[in-house]
Structures are given as C-alpha cells and as structure tokens.
Amino acid sequence: MAVTASPSFPAEAIPKRRNPVVAFMAAQPLGFVAFLIILMYFVFALGAYWIAPYDPEAVDFSAMLGAPSGEHFFGTDQYGRDVFSRLVYGARTALAVGILSAIAGCTLGAVVGATSGYFGGRLDTFIQRIVDVMLSFPIIVLAMVVVAVLGRNAVFGVDLNLIAAIALPMVPKMARIARSSTLSIAQMPFIDAARAAGYSHPRIILRHILPNIVAPYLIMLTAFIAQAILLEASLSFLGLGVTEPTPAWGLMLTGTSADFYKAAPWMIMFPGLAITLAVFAFNLFGDSLRDWLDPKMKT
C-alpha cells in the first residue's frame, strides 16, 4: 500500500516560534545594546588569560605610573602593573561576585517570599516585620554589618562571606515581590488541585508556585546583579571587600590611588568607567527585560 503523503501545510500556516533573542532584539533595541555590553564583559571575564596583555599582578618598577600608550593601553599604576590587564581580570571578580551573590540573594528572597505569601497568617506577619526592618537600612549598611559579623572566609579565592554580605541586602526586596505574586497565584485553581491531590506544602511551593514567578525573578536578578557589582566595588573601595592583590575595580580606586590624582589620573578614570558601564548595562538590560516580559511590573 502506497504511503499517502501526510497533508502538507504551507510553512507559514504553522505558527513559527520566533527565536527569543531575535524577538527581544526587535522589541528592545536599547536592551539589546546593553546585552552586547554584558556579553563583552563576559568575554573579558572568561577569556582574561588570553585578552590581558600582562599578568595583572606582575610588578614592574621600571614602568611605574606610566601614561596610556601603545604598550600599556590604560597606563600603569604605582607598582607598574598594567591597568588594562587588571581591568580585564577585574571583570572576572566583578561578575563572579556579582552574579553569585545576586543569585543567592534573589533565590533566598523568592523562597522566603513565596513561603510567607503561601502560608499567610502569623508566619507571614512575622516575616514581613523582619523584611520591613531590613528595608529600612541602605544596602551598604546591611552589607557592612554582615562583613563585621562574619569576617573573611576565602574558599578557592572567592570570599564566601563577601558573597553572603552582598546577597543578604537583596533578600527583603525579592521577598516582597515574590510574596505579592504568590498571593495572586495561590488563588488559582491549579493550587487547589495540587492541594486536593495531597501534595506537601514544600512541593507546592517549589514545583507549583516558584515556576510561576520566574518572570519577576529574572527581572529582579538582572537589577540585583547591577547593584551587587556596585556594592562589591564600594566595599572593596572601603577595604571591606576583595583584598589585594586580587584585581577588582573598586580596589583599584582605593586609598592609595588618591595620592596619584595629579600624577596618574588614568588610574582613577578607567576603573570607574568599567564599573559605571557594567552597572549601566545590567540596569538597562533589566529595564528592557521588564518592559518585554512583564510591562505591568514596577520595581
């Protein structure tokens, strides 16, 4: 028996799923530019070894405080270290600390907020009181208290306590947003169905509620990465974050570089530009992501 050809549809009739990257580029051109800048930072961070022309920690006293030149694009610092190479390696520190702490803070916040909204009652009131108190402090103050309380704890070159210090101030904001989303999701019939099926509370929260707050989660995550990069730079600048000789943008601007305002302004200009551009890109990307995913959401 001849195989009858399956009825063929004209290609256009099948709704084609647009590549999300292409769709995003078309809808949010500015956000796409921000995305490209972020991509550039990732390339620097991951390929630092191949991109940086010098070892970021190599001291060269014959080239101290050198002005930007063909040899040293962004000049050298007071130890003769290449500023450009330190910036490239600094991207690694900034992204590693920024992304890890934003993910930690955002995830913890989402779980706390969803739990608070799902159970309601006394637990909810209690959690919301704590959130209120935490929200009444600037994030750098919370981070500094955590730094003071925990001290330092470097594991594989990453200071886990620093990540905790940057993550903690992000928790209350995300918890607020996750809670309000959860309140509306908890009214939905599929939650009743899950309850009727006898699922445990943790399972309902993790499998049924959290997947439904992915959009606000992603939006907050990009905004938090921007804040985390800024916070890491500020803490390192104050001598409470990343320590020498690890290359970090905030650290490059710390105390000693202030002695060289006149002699070597490039030591101040370039690290600051690197921080500003990174924070700007993540903020812009987050804004565009919000407009694209969830236009009603306000942060």
Binding site: V133, F137, P138, V141, A148, V149, L240, G272, T276, F280
Partner: protein
C-alpha cells in the same frame, strides 16, 4: 491631626525596640574577638591576664543576658555603651561626628530637590522631546555611577581646572561659613547627584500619571489655562510621591556618605562606621545601626506628617 500624630509616634516604639534587640544579638554572633585583635595590634605578646582584664573593663566577661539587660537599660538613658576600640562613650563619638554628616545630608537634599523638581517637571511636560531624553539619560547614569568615583572625578576636576583642593579638617559653618561651604559643597554634590537622579525619575513618572487623571481633563475642558492646570492641579498632586522619595532617600543618605566621606576625608558618621567595621568595634556598630534606624523612623514620621498635611485623605484613615 493631633491624634494622627500620636498614633504614628506610638507605632515607632516597637520598631525601634525590635531593631535594638535584633542588632544586639546579631552582632554577638561575631566570631572575632575584638579585645584580642586590639591588644595584639598595639603590642607584640599579650598575656592571657591582660586580655581578661581588658575584657572585664569593657564588661565583656558578664553573661550575655546580663550584658543585654545593661544594654537595654542604658538605651532608655541614651547610653549606648563605650566604644571597644577607643574606650570613649559611643554617644559622644557619634555626637562629635554627626554635624558634618548632617550638614552634607541637608546640602545634598537641597541640591537634589533644586535640580530634580524642575528637571522632572520639564521632562514630563515635554515627554519624548530632546529635553526629556537628556534628563532621562542623566538620571539613569546617576544611578550607575558609583558615588565614590563621582567624588574622585570632582576632585580631579578641581585639580585640573582650579589647581585647588578644599582644606582637610572640618570648620563649623557658624565659625567660618565660607571655608565650611567651600569644603562641604563637593561631597554634597557627589551624594546629591544620585539623590537628584532618583527624585527626578519619581517626579517625572508621578507627573505623567497625574496628567492622565480625569480632573486634569475636566480642568482643561472648562478652559483653565494650561499653566494653571500644571501648577494648581497637576504639580500639587504629583508632589505626594515625590515627598516620600525625598524622605526615604534622605534616610538612606548614610549609604552614600559611607563612601563619599572616605573620598573627601571627612570625619563624619560614614567614616566612623567604616572604621568601626574594620576594627570590629561592635558597640560602636550597634550604636550606629540604631542611629540609622532612628533617623529612618523619624524621617518617615516627618513624611507621614507632611503627607497628612498635603492630603487630608491620609489623615482620616
């Protein structure tokens, strides 16, 4: 209005007590021993007895519950204990540093409001014009520029243009207003920029929202001049959320002062906080955190009162 005020004041007390208790216990979890750090930093070998004696002198040998009792009783008399590092009273340390930071904060607020309200209004009235776009770019970059770097750029500019730097050391505004202002205007500008950026954004979005209201359409329909519509009807109503943001950001200025005071070498609350954190001086940290909480609560109270005054609906609820 009076009962509204009393109600708000009473609500403040449990919040502050909560913060005081939370801070006390949070900070005791600290693993490092400040006494050991302090003594070992000064000299080389320190005997166990000296450490014990120092601990006793600072009252750290007592059980935690007794320390907690002393601390809470002290609080009722505004006694925040003694700094573990300098041995001075925490209240005195704070009182000594407070005026500088407070003045910078006030100046930053004035700068921010003076910049933000007109710019935000223009930006909203001429939405999507080049004015609007410029203002928005300025505002967004205000959120991205790290405060300490902006301070450094200001110093670079002062050096490049005037070859001049403000003198180090604080002079009271009552003694020598010129020296005082010429030193403090720069840190105020550097924290004020971010502040202005936040307020501008709020001003713009609040005004845009109000302009869509029915009563604006009504006012226009009955032939009120456009100038009057914006001034009397729109601006007044748009000011409510702006007042909130100005207040909130004022309470949060300490976050900017922490880094800015470091850049400009100002001996204020922010620098005190950084020093306390570096040294693990937890009575001082405790006192500063409480101070920040009190400022936050007080500013909120002030905002609420202003709100009640601006908008009668708030008073009645």
């Amino acid at each position: 209005m009076f009962s509204f005020l009393i109600r708000r004041l009473l609500l403040v007390i449990p919040t502050l007590v909560g913060v005081a208790v939370a801070v006390f216990f949070l900070i005791r979890v600290m693993p490092g021993d400040v006494v050991v750090v302090k003594l070992r930093a000064e000299g080389a070998a320190v005997s166990e007895e000296t450490i014990e004696a120092e601990r006793k002198r600072l009252g750290l040998d007592k059980p935690m519950i007794v320390q907690f009792k002393d601390y809470m009783i002290g609080l009722t008399r505004l006694d925040l204990g003694k700094s573990l590092w300098t041995g001075e009273s925490v209240s005195a340390e704070i009182a000594q540093r407070f005026p500088v930071s407070f003045q910078v904060a006030i100046m930053a607020t004035i700068i921010a409001v003076l910049i933000a309200v007109p710019l935000g209004t223009l930006s909203a009235l001429y939405k999507d014009s080049w004015i609007d776009n410029t203002v928005r770019v300025l505002a967004v970059s205000g959120l991205a520029i790290p405060g300490f770097w902006l301070g450094m750029l200001i110093i670079l500019m002062l050096l490049a243009v005037f070859n001049w730097l403000p003198k180090i050391g604080y002079v009271s505004i009552f003694e020598d207003p010129v020296a005082n202002l010429s030193a403090l205007i720069w840190p105020a500008l550097s924290v004020g920029y971010r502040y202005a950026a936040v307020v501008t954004r709020m001003m713009r979005s609040a005004l845009l929202e109000v302009m869509r209201e029915d009563y604006i359409r009504t006012a226009r329909a009955k032939g009120v001049f456009e100038k009057l519509v914006t001034r009397r009807h729109a601006l007044k109503n748009a000011m409510l959320p702006v007042v909130t943001v100005v207040g909130l950001e004022f309470a949060f200025l300490i976050g900017g002062l922490v880094v800015t005071e470091q850049v400009f070498n100002l001996n204020g609350i922010g620098k005190l906080f950084v020093d306390a954190t570096t040294r693990g001086d937890f009575t001082l940290i405790q006192g500063l955190v409480l101070l920040i909480a009190v400022v936050f609560v007080m500013v909120n109270l002030l905002v609420d009162v202003l709100y009640g005054w601006l908008d009668p609906r708030v008073r009645l609820n």
